[in-house]
Symmetry: C2
Subunit: 321 residues, 2 copies
């Protein structure tokens, strides 16, 4: 089942995508839930609602005339896995021997077809094609073996990244730790902060729809392709992730409670073929969109790119790499 969130003159709606068709099932959801259609509530009541939605027909709408929103418009959190592609391993001089992740805010999200907006003062910005998991039921301390039982579905995430800002938001400093003798000691540490470079407005495109778990038997073997202005910049597969989806969810759940509607984006599938362009060629400041990501069984997420000619106000920032 492919579930989409979209907007029409009547407001925010939920629909089932079926080939070229989009069936608006909002009225059914309002009847059952007694309130506005909302993907997070649908997920929380999936056991009751999905069988109903499978049977009902709903009104057919013209998919080309609606505004697509992220299938989960306001997830409680978005966890992005860092450097999970085995193609990046040879570039790691030192790295942890477990997954590492950062957070993106719900406010950075756009849906299929909505513009990714980039400003000159952001410096270079590139796309990152990723498999995203939508959590179905709360999970804490869940073993990898049973982690996928907590998944509601899968979708595509463009983890737009400002590597110009990334290069600016680095600290090298003397951190304070307490030594084994109880005395404080200084340790030189490099830290970086992802608030701007991962979380700026429109830096997270999600969609076009989410596909329920039953239709994706093996999330660890899905072909991924990313194009910018029609040119392929990544052709990869989720089988080249260092950690499987179930391992990522299990790991995070030993620190965070993952909640219904939360998004875990599994890391960049960026592997370029020899001689081809890579995601690092696709600086949105220079290359016009649209950017499209296709993942096997999940569809194609496509977004135009708009350069906003705006200067930064109160701050002077070094021009970025």
């Amino acid at each position: 089942m492919k579930l989409a969130t979209f907007r029409t003159a009547e407001g925010t709606r939920i629909g089932l995508a079926d080939g070229e068709e989009l069936r608006d099932v909002s009225a059914i959801l309002v009847d059952v839930l007694g309130g506005l259609p909302d993907m997070e509530r649908l997920i929380r009541h999936a056991d009751t609602l999905l069988p109903v939605l499978r049977q009902e027909s709903g009104e057919i709408v013209d998919a080309s005339k609606v505004e697509w929103l992220p299938p989960v418009p306001r997830p409680g959190k978005i966890c992005g896995i860092a450097m999970n592609n085995s193609a990046s391993n040879e570039r790691k001089i030192s790295a942890p021997d477990h997954p590492a992740f950062f957070l993106k805010p719900a406010s950075c999200m756009v849906g299929h077809g909505q513009a990714i907006r980039v400003r000159p003062y952001y410096g270079s910005v590139h796309p990152e094609p990723e498999l995203a998991v939508v959590i179905g039921t709360a999970m804490r301390d869940v073993d990898a073996v049973s982690a996928l039982e907590h998944v509601f579905g899968y979708t595509i995430f463009n983890d737009v990244t400002g590597n110009g800002m990334r290069a600016e938001d680095l600290f090298r400093y003397r951190a304070v730790y307490r030594g084994s003798d109880g005395e404080l000691e200084y340790r030189e540490q490099h830290l970086s902060y992802a608030g701007r470079y991962k979380g700026s407005d429109t830096f997270g495109a999600l969609g076009p729809w989410l596909v329920t778990r039953d239709e994706v038997p093996d999330p660890d073997n899905l072909a991924v392709e990313c194009t910018v202005a029609g040119e392929v910049i990544a052709r990869d597969s989720t089988r080249y992730y260092n950690y499987k989806v179930c391992e990522l969810l299990s790991f995070i759940s030993q620190f965070h409670t993952l909640e219904p509607g939360d998004i875990v984006s599994c890391g960049t599938a960026f592997k370029p073929e020899p001689g081809r362009k890579s995601i690092h060629h696709a600086n949105f400041q220079e290359v016009p969109g649209p950017v499209s990501i296709s993942i096997e069984q999940l569809g194609t997420l496509s977004n135009p790119v708009v350069i906003e000619q705006r200067q930064i106000g109160n701050w002077r920032l070094a021009s970025s790499a």
Copy 2:
């Protein structure tokens, strides 16, 4: 006006704190909003609701018998400012010349009196006393001069930090950038990811209540004190922040839209007096709580600390510094 979110047998409630008293105004909010009491909705309808709440009486409840929740239980985002204390400047070997920030998830939050839970495999974990801003109206591209007009109120945030995990989640690697000649080039870069060390469950205590902006004329000059097990580990003031509150909000708004209910935590007020203990002595693995943070005009946020004797499941992690 001091607004609190709390829980009783009747469910989640909103109250006005007034000295030792807590007045439950949930029924009034339900009447006006036509739905469940929720701080984010109250903030969005503040112009209508605050004058009503000032006049109504509401039921008095015994503050010692309720469970305090974070005043905004599920903010859309929590931005945490990094290294904003001038006392840390001398330890910076290199750093950006503008604010830098990270995100914490709403799922990490606890309220006043709720336990901060730490597990042995987290490594060292310490408190960070901070002034937190609650956004009132959406802001994007707002100058520092008018930034405070978008503030709904202020509260206290304990930005609990796992510096053991911080030391583990570091990458040194050869990042790919595109050079001025258009060719790809490698640059050695150190990156770190804050997902675990800043966002684990219970790593964000907020409260006890929020104080509306009208009662805090100068957020840039508030005394801050933090104690652990009764011993002072920080005595500082928000006047020692590198960036004023209005500058932080203005800066973030040039990248992110800040939305009603969002939290911006302004950085650690950790300055110890000479010869005193510091926050880095307060490793929760070794020092029992409670941890208390008092900020002038905002009250005292106090939380017990519980060590959960749990081993990590599928992952072996190096024991932390």
